[in-house]
Amino acid sequence: MNPGVSQKAIQAKGFWRAQRWLLLRRLSQVLVLAMFASGPWLGVWILKGNLSASLLLDTVPLSDPLTLLQSMVAGHWPATMALVGGAIVLAIYLLLGGRLFCSWVCPVNLVTDAASWTRHRLNLPTRPGNPKGRYAVLAGVLLGAAATGSLVWEWVNPITLSIRVITLGSLTGLWMLLAIFLFDLVIRRDGWCGTLCPVGSFYALVNRFGWLKIRLPAREKCDDCMACYKACPEPQVIKIPLKDIGAEPVIRDPACTLCGRCVDVCPENVFEIGSRRKASEPLQTVEIKP
């Protein structure tokens, strides 16, 4: 999130093409919240439960695979309904791309994007975190569940806490969201989702197999305006596919959240959302001088 970063793109391609993935993503996030909230508030049950386990339209069970994994290492084999739900969710993200959850579903992204936006507004300096350290947190969550026999991560899990805020009006979850906002604002840019959240890490592991990838079919047009780096929540994933002529022009780093913001903000249309298929060998361009 970076205010102003899309100015050039808006001039070059028009408002819709420079903002569409962001707007669609916001629509998707709000729809997820609305589907959970409509039951308790309006009596129209679309999704019952929260993002650890839910029931879609009173028929399709959905459950978070990482939550079930914690339950298993804590010593409980979940009942069939939960397992079926976990298999459905895992299959969807395995097919499409794990971190789609982060950018299109997870309600915490609204908070972290707001922090990132404010951060750029205040022009605060950016210190990169360690993007690999997150897997240690993921391991810690599973070890914690195994050691205590309880789903300890659920004590602070901001994802389910925020769904509870809107379904059950439980306000205590707001403290965790505020803490994340402050952490991302002052301590580390996109620090929660980029370096800590174990759910994001789990879906990054799943992301490896996903079918959707960001492709760079026109990387030679890049004029180094840096808009994509400034807009991307995981900017380290862009550099090699964009700048290393020997590398394949496809973002395969599993940290990419498939948010599509790079596609939006690039005035030169370098990026597109596409499939994982191998890019044909980079063409050797030979300059012929008359």
């Binding site: 019952k48 029931l55 459950s63 979940p78 309904m81 309880s150 659920e154 439980s170 604002l185």
Partner: protein, 234 residues
């Protein structure tokens, strides 16, 4: 001259660093205050005894099994259940109820158990009268109106298992010497822990309370033999 349109206003890097550092300290202080404040709320919030829904596995197993999804809560037609809050005495997000506020209404179809996707609420529980959410205990024998010699009987009358889970046992009123005392007496082998008695108790603070079975009941050492029960068995 610099105008508003200048792309990059000059910043003093040292000043910017100082501001950023100041904000970091402020945030650290803010977060600490936040957690201490929440900790102090914890003491205030824990009034009353919290019980698990019908069919809940024994506590250590329940904490591993329940994924804190709240589907039992959303399917309870009486709004009995809620999810434990951040820093509450029971694990955040796990389903609980406070019988003094809203007791379990003993739904025959047990929708809470049906909703649970994980088995944390045991699907083997099909007869709600077999539920063991806790056990009622007449905790205050000094203020219970029946023990003072009146005929309140409210806890007894509201019990869904009246005359089985709770009975009125007749004693002589030693104070007056000529009246009777009808003592509400709970039978732990039948009481489900639904909490309707605690909810209905007419005192400001209930004299009868449902407690988790672990807290309420004693346990004989294995070497004790109760002679009259052994005689019955033989």
């Amino acid at each position: 001259m610099r105008t508003r349109r200048d792309p990059k206003p000059p910043v003093n890097p040292a000043r910017r660093k100082a501001i950023a550092q100041g904000m970091q300290y402020a945030c650290a202080a803010g977060l600490t205050t936040l957690f201490l404040g929440l900790q102090s709320q914890k003491g205030k919030a824990s009034g009353g005894v919290w019980l698990r829904p019908p069919g809940a596995l024994e506590e250590p197993d329940f904490l591993a099994a329940c994924v804190r999804c709240g589907r039992c809560v959303e399917d309870c037609p009486w709004d009995t259940l809620g999810l434990a809050e951040f820093l509450s005495p029971l694990a955040t997000g796990t389903p609980v109820f406070n019988a003094r506020k809203v007791p379990c209404e003993m739904c025959e179809d047990i929708p809470c158990v049906k909703a649970c996707p994980t088995g944390a609420l045991d699907p083997e529980l099909t007869d709600i009268n077999e539920a063991r959410m806790g056990v009622a205990v007449l905790t205050d024998r000094e203020n219970c109106l029946n023990l003072l010699g009146l005929r309140c009987d409210v806890c007894y009358r509201v019990c869904p298992l009246i005359d089985e889970a709770i009975t009125l046992e007749l004693h002589r009123n030693v104070r007056t010497g000529k009246h009777a005392i009808f003592e509400p007496t709970v039978h732990s082998d039948v009481c489900t822990g639904c909490g309707k008695c605690e909810h209905a108790c007419v005192l400001e603070e209930a004299a009868i309370k449902v407690l988790p079975r672990k807290s309420a009941q004693g346990e004989l050492g294995a070497h004790y033999r109760i002679s009259w029960e052994q005689e019955d068995a033989s």
